[in-house]
């Protein structure tokens, strides 16, 4: 789960990371009101999960009330790379001489957290990592002990952070690691961490991604999830407990097991179609889950045809088929053609049970995908 900047900043500030004064606004009047309170200049920042917000016109620096009103008017309600902006953060502008990068992430190859520091902040850190990897100092951390203070100092010295602020930057890094561990984060980043003319350090941005699998022990963070969700269908998937990713094609895909669903997407592409989504309904295929899955895919206007691919392992094919019949029986009219492929335990029995007035039945995965791609083309 990815928090918005304003949510992450609250978490960072509570943990003791210095942040500029800021307030969230949803209307033009609120923006001006907050800007007056904070004092000009302020930055008006769109709260959407889009990289390169500044370049796309989602961040504006304003000097007075008139400019604040103009900026708010332009940003609130704008379409930023496909996302509607309904919230902005109004934040005191920081006069800086340097921009650093500090971050904590899980190095999955090493199976350990890693702390990273760079003096090349304020730009896309992934580009720095690809083009100039030695510009990022890295320090692996023993998750059983946590980050030792010397490790924070070492990373800061290795990165070449100016001596005058080294101590404060190390302190921010230690705090950042502790909050990373406390929130079960996958990534915690500050980019840029600004250094002012007076050698103060201040977090001008905040990224906090929390491990979805750990949300059960962070009810406070889990509560932020609805606010952070951007896509109606993705919010609906959360409610149903599906793994769902929306894509931009027109072939709806439902299956069981992440690897097999990914493979189904790849086959749609291989046979010339375009996947509309990834939807893993997980183990079993009880009627209720099948109904919910179909409801999700049918309610995506982009979808022209649906492939339903189930490999029954422990779950028997005849039970899955009954679930599909029951589910489709609940629709007065099947809005889009559905192709079903059942394999595994009792698949033959399952195929016999399926009502072929409601669905097209295919025996092989390849055959089912090809048929669905044809249907999707016909519907267009």
């Amino acid at each position: 789960m990815r928090l918005h900047e304003y949510q992450a900043k609250d978490v960072f500030a509570d943990a003791g990371v210095p942040t500029p004064p800021s307030a969230l606004a949803t209307t033009v009047d609120e923006v001006v009101e907050h800007a007056e309170e904070i004092g000009y200049p302020v930055a008006v920042k769109a709260q959407v999960h889009v990289g390169g917000r500044g370049k796309a016109g989602g961040i504006k620096l304003v000097e007075n009330a008139e400019e604040a009103r103009e900026a708010a008017d332009a940003i609130l309600g704008m379409d930023l790379k496909g996302y509607n902006v309904d919230k902005v953060l109004v934040e005191g502008a920081v006069d800086f001489k340097n921009e650093l990068y500090v971050g904590i992430t899980m190095d999955r190859g090493a199976g350990k957290p890693v702390a990273m520091v760079s003096t090349q902040g304020g730009v896309n850190i992934e580009e720095v990592a690809a083009e100039n990897p030695e510009a990022i100092a890295r320090e692996h951390i023993d998750p059983a002990f946590g980050m030792h203070p010397y490790q924070a100092r070492k990373a800061v010295y290795d990165a070449g952070v100016p001596k005058a602020v080294a101590r404060d930057v190390a302190s921010v890094l230690t705090t950042l690691y502790d909050l990373w561990a406390d929130t079960d984060a996958s990534d915690a980043e500050i980019n840029p961490l600004m250094i002012t003319e007076d050698d103060e350090v201040i977090a001008a941005d905040a990224v906090l991604n929390v491990d979805d699998d750990a949300l059960f022990r962070h009810p406070d963070l889990a509560e932020m999830e609805d606010e952070a969700a951007e896509d109606d269908l993705e919010a609906k998937a959360n409610e149903y407990g599906f793994d769902y990713v929306r894509l931009d094609g027109n072939v709806g895909i439902i299956g069981n097991g992440a690897g097999l669903v990914m493979t189904t997407l790849d086959l749609v592409d291989y046979y010339g179609g375009k996947p509309a989504n990834f939807l893993d309904i997980g183990g079993g295929a009880k009627a209720e889950r099948v109904v919910n899955a179909l409801d999700m895919v049918f309610s995506d206007d982009n979808v022209d045809a649906v492939v339903f691919n189930i490999f029954g392992g422990i779950t028997r094919g005849d039970e899955v088929a009954k679930g599909i019949n029951e589910a489709l029986g609940q629709f007065d009219e099947i809005p889009k053609p559905v192709v079903v492929r059942l394999a595994g335990t009792n698949a033959t029995e399952g195929r016999e049970i399926l009502n072929d007035e409601l669905v097209t039945v295919e025996e092989t995965l390849e055959g089912a995908v090809q048929r669905t791609v044809e249907y999707a083309e016909d519907e267009q």
Binding site: P113, L260, F311, I314
Partner: protein
């Protein structure tokens, strides 16, 4: 022959009194697995499917002389269950549980450096040596005895490929699901090394997916250390960057690492044919045999 498990493997089921644990214990026994004990804190002295239940793993291992455990404990308590198993002298711990917090697994990973026990998983379907023993939730009826080894990050994708093989009359020595999480105990390389040392395995199938660099590292290992031919498959060619495709580990990071393309290229460079479809994987296995 086989790798890691056979008909003599004595198995403890951790979390045997839960719904999943009980159901799959019955399924494993029906397949022929030698399930000798179960554990469930506070339920010691009971029996499930004719198997004695103990309060602790240590007690179960000592009383029943067990070699391996299967973990069906829910995610919030699973890391604790794995730590408990690692503190005994079991040879193998197979963690089926899906959804264990990654930071818990980082701590488990640290502990693995200090013990001799092998962890397989978590978030995996388990391991099966057809005709002898299965530990986990794999559907036994689709597997058959033979000379192809299989290692995969995904459960149902494993079934898809095995089904294609079995229908062509190609059986398996052992099939092992290593799991779809970012931090796992047994890697592709660990499993490939076991298959390379198994005289009965003539071809190995390796099913990878997007995310991380394990497949690239495995490709390097194959090129340098393996005589046994390998056929490959990579799921997730069409996955967009930054989206988690079901498995916590299946994510292409923004900088372009972990893509299907880089994995397929690495495998091809190592002489491994990578099928475009699961059927093509089975074709490649036939060619290699």
């Amino acid at each position: 022959m086989s790798i890691l498990v056979d008909e003599d493997t004595r198995v403890v089921v951790q979390g045997i009194t839960g719904g999943e644990g009980k159901f799959h214990t019955e399924q494993m026994i029906e397949y022929g697995t030698n399930v000798v004990a179960g554990t469930s804190p506070g339920k010691g002295g009971q029996e499930v499917a004719g198997v004695p239940v103990y309060d602790t793993v240590e007690e179960a291992v000592n009383e029943e002389d067990a070699d391996a455990s299967v973990v069906f404990v829910p995610p919030a308590f699973a890391a604790d269950a794995i730590f408990e198993a690692l503190d005994t002298d079991l040879d193998l711990v197979v963690a089926i549980t899906e959804g264990i917090p990654t930071q818990d697994m980082a701590k488990v990973n640290k502990r693995l450096e200090e013990v001799d026990t092998r962890l397989q998983g978590p978030n995996c379907p388990g391991i099966i040596t057809p005709g002898e023993s299965k530990l986990g939730i794999l559907p036994g009826n689709i597997f058959s005895e033979g000379n192809v080894g299989l290692v995969s990050r995904s459960g149902t994708l494993t079934y898809q490929v095995v089904d294609s093989l079995t229908q062509r009359g190609i059986g398996q020595t052992t099939a092992i699901g290593i799991g779809g999480d970012p931090i796992i105990g047994t890697s592709f390389i660990d499993a490939l090394e076991e298959f390379e040392n198994d005289p009965d395995t003539d071809v190995v199938v390796m099913c990878g997916e997007i995310g991380g660099e394990d497949e690239e590292e495995a490709a390097a290992y194959i090129a340098e250390h393996m005589d046994t031919p390998v056929a490959g498959f990579i799921a997730g060619r069409t996955a967009p960057p930054g989206k988690r495709m079901g498995h916590a580990g299946a994510i292409v990071s923004g900088s372009g690492t972990g893509t299907a393309e880089s994995k397929i290229d690495a495998l091809n460079d190592a002489g491994v044919p990578v099928g475009d479809t699961p059927e093509e994987v089975a074709d490649n296995v036939e060619d290699l045999l």
